[in-house]
């Protein structure tokens, strides 16, 4: 194999950086955007799933994020990594949707399914090592977590997910949501309080051991 063909192969196998693909899209190569989308789709979808249990909605939101990104690619600045930029778009899309869906926090409805009650029992009684493994394959663990998080105000839920799940810093959250850093800190504190209150209400009403 000649040097030239080896170089061609290496060039084909090289993972092109996002910024290079963005430049291609801006130059009119729309196919490059398909590669960008397939590269980031799963991560964005997973972020949306932290807010919404409806898989149809998650797919719609993910698609909307990429449409917004495509439409706004002209405003993209290379100082910010594309990953962070598309995540900001997704966060704002989810936040808009959260606020659109619920104007005020709802009380946690107490009509739990048998599976959800079994999961609550496990959370209350199983050893910490067993819990993580037990959650897998249990859809109820997922639905119950969504129900609990859905009882929070949209801004509380948003700040919790960004801080704990996405592991974003206070400054980064503030920039993403257009809030002050003080507001992020206050919201995070209140969100944890609200979450604890809702969890104790949920489990306390069933007389589970942990929140007696």
């Amino acid at each position: 194999m000649g040097l030239a063909s080896t170089a061609r192969l290496e060039s084909a196998e090289r993972v092109r950086p996002d910024e290079e693909l963005v430049a291609e899209v801006r130059a009119g190569e729309n196919a490059a955007f398909a590669e960008l989308a397939s590269r980031h789709r799963r991560r964005i979808e997973h972020l949306c799933r932290r807010f919404f249990i409806d898989q149809e909605l998650v797919r719609d939101l993910t698609q909307e994020c990429f449409l917004r990104a495509f439409a706004g690619l002209a405003s993209y600045r290379a100082e910010m990594p594309f990953t962070a930029w598309i995540r900001t778009i997704a966060v704002n899309a989810c936040y808009d949707e959260l606020r659109r869906r619920r104007r005020k926090p709802e009380e946690l409805v107490a009509d739990f399914t048998v599976g959800e009650l079994e999961w609550m029992e496990l959370v209350s009684d199983a050893s910490p090592e067993e819990l993580a493994g037990a959650a897998e394959e249990r859809r109820e663990a997922y639905t119950l977590a969504h129900r609990l998080l859905a009882s929070l105000r949209p801004e509380d839920r948003m700040v919790l997910v960004l801080k704990d799940s996405e592991e974003m810093g206070v400054q980064e959250i503030a920039e993403t949501l257009g809030w002050s850093e003080a507001k992020v800190k206050i919201r995070a504190f209140r969100a944890r309080q609200a979450l604890r209150k809702q969890a104790s209400r949920m489990l306390g009403s069933r007389r589970f051991r942990i929140f007696k």
Binding site: R49, A132, Y142, L144, V161, L203
Partner: protein, 143 residues
Amino acid sequence: MNCFQARREFPNFWRERLAEPVANQLAGHLECCGLCEQAYRLFALTAPVMHSDAEAVDAMLGGEDAVRRPRRMPSVQAGDAAEQRGMIWTALSMLVAASVIAYIAAATPRESLIDALTNSRPASAISAVQEPPAYSFLDDFAG
């Protein structure tokens, strides 16, 4: 391991990504610290959404396929299906038998079409209640 260190490791403990010695330390801490144990159980309530990997969420939803399309209702078991087929056949047989009986038992119309149209007495009724003809010559014999 102190409480702060323990709580910082919750997400990795949940994802089972901690090295064994650290995981053991954390488990030991949770055994002896009631507040951290309670915090971990609260954490576990939201962790399936907040801290699970995409693959773990797929598993909870019933595989990657479940994310792509809505879950189907559980189908009936093979034994149930055979039982259902038997019931359908029984119902059909009963329906056919009932139809045949109804057809046979159906009374022949007492009126003919002409009777019905002319509104005269039905022929069958006439034949059934027909009185003997009044023969005037009999009266003569009777005297």
